[in-house]
Amino acid sequence: MSQDKTTTTATPKTTGHNWDGIEEYTNPLPTWWIWGFYITFIFTVVYWLFYPAWPIGDKFTKGIPGLHTITYKATTVDGKEVEKTTHWNMRSKFMHEMNEMEGVQKQWFDKVAAMSFEDVSKDAELMQFVNSAGKTLFSDNCAPCHQAGGQGKIGFSPNLTDDHWQFGGTHDEIQQTIVHGRKGFMPAFKEVLNEQQITQLANYVLSLSGEPHDNAFATAGAQLFKSEDAGCYYCHGADAKGNTQMGSANLTDKIWLWADVPAKSTQESKLAEVKRVITGGLDRGVMPAWGGRLKPEQIKLLTVYVHDSLGGGK
């Protein structure tokens, strides 16, 4: 500590340097400190015995063989489970930690994988696991597009909490969607139809949802919808209820995805929204395939979560 030279009995030794009258003491370091310093030396030697440390040529030391090992279970390319023991390193430790976590969750995932969709959704205890694990998986992977509660976003991604399913709402269909992804497509009609015909069709589409529309135009639009000139019925069906096999929208359910009709307040602006989609068509709405990114049991669990917890119906 700081000592006043004049009040101490023995004059402490200095380094002998004198910088503009400033001198430097050579007091010994505290004993506890110096021993701490020596102990770090001893620690490094212990470290070399336990962990990968020294480079030697094109190899490196991996600790004393057998002194500090990690045992883990691994899955080979052909699906076999093998147990291995290696020297300690970050990656074998990681394998071990993943095993531990999977050990805790495995019984539940195994149950989900083995049971039918219907049985899973009836099992209240299992559904607790589905809800918590599903929420995590959904937040990490699905929420960026479908939003945190699965409510979707008009003009971008479908709502998963309603009873309308563009590509089918059964467990199998939802699973198919997650594994392989989806893509929205509607041809542009600006080259096929004239302005008046598009206005007629748009009025018809608005009339299907009970939105304000022009009756005369809508009647003409209904004819056009089923005619070969426009051919809307090829995809949307003669009753305009869509087709989940090809993902064509049901135009009668008052649910809007690409034309943001509910946000518009006037008849003209609602009409303009629908006309925009008919004119320009649609070449977006890509959902990535998750088959390569998530494990099959995770996808199955997500399927149940989307179908039974988010409020899907059919």
Partner: protein
């Protein structure tokens, strides 16, 4: 030499200080160049195509690395959120590398294929329109700026000097055919860089606007390839343990 002399001579002091400081770095770094296991033996890693590389330059220009790392560490929580831990081999053609663990946004090492081009486009222009709680700034100019690719051959030549195997001669091209296959080798040929860049941008239509090639096209092309080069299904899930 008396330390008196060192302390009175700034030049000598500087040299000795640098030597002392670099000793630690040299001891840690130099052996890695000689240890065979440093870079894992794995198929699929290739240099970026001209368009992806140009997107990478925009990534660095905009400072994306200040908030986003590209290094998934072998930790349970990171693997659960981001996917397989990053391999040294996966960034062997990166100049500069994008490792790090200081993150404000998520790690992007495996963001490729996770979202659609459409999502990236809208998210880069207005992040909060898709992720309400995001603190990421808007980058609307990326969609407006035409991509300047006039100097793409120079950029690839510079990387070639740094050791990235872009080919500038027939012999180098043939070496790349052998190493990466013909399809990839074609995209790495410097004389065709501009042609390849335009072709990939037109075909991929990354910013969902086919009328022009913007900086957004390049950036999304880059983001969509991140972490997708190695097919981990081809390896035992502990294959990479033996390299450490």
């Amino acid at each position: 030499m008396k330390h008196d002399k060192i302390e009175r001579n700034l030049g000598i002091l500087l040299i000795f200080t640098m030597l002392a400081i670099s000793a630690g770095g040299m001891v840690e770094i130099i052996p890695l160049f000689f240890i065979k296991e440093t870079i894992e033996k794995v198929d699929g890693v290739r240099p970026y195509t001209p368009l992806e590389q140009r997107g990478r330059d925009i990534y660095t220009r905009e400072g994306c690395y200040l908030c986003h790392s590209q290094m998934i560490r072998p930790f349970r929580d990171e693997a659960l959120r981001y996917g397989h831990y990053s391999l040294a081999a996966e960034s062997k053609y990166d100049h500069p590398f994008q490792w790090g663990s200081k993150r404000t946004g998520p790690d992007l090492a495996r963001v490729g294929g996770k979202y659609s081009n459409d999502w990236h486009t809208q998210h880069l222009i207005a992040p909060r329109s898709l992720v309400p709680q995001s603190v990421m700034p808007n980058y609307p100019w990326l969609a407006k700026n035409d991509l300047d690719y006039s100097d793409i051959t120079l950029r690839l030549k510079a990387l070639r000097v740094a050791g990235v195997p872009y080919s500038n001669s027939q012999a180098e091209y043939e070496r790349n055919v052998k190493d990466f296959g013909e399809d990839v080798a074609k995209t790495l040929h410097i004389p065709d860089a501009e042609k390849n860049l335009v072709a990939q941008a037109k075909l991929g239509n990354y910013d969902t606007d086919p009328s022009n090639i913007t900086e957004l096209d390049a950036l999304v092309a880059y983001l969509q390839v991140l972490g997708t080069m190695v097919d981990f299904k081809k390896y035992d899930d502990d294959y990479f343990v033996k390299f450490r």
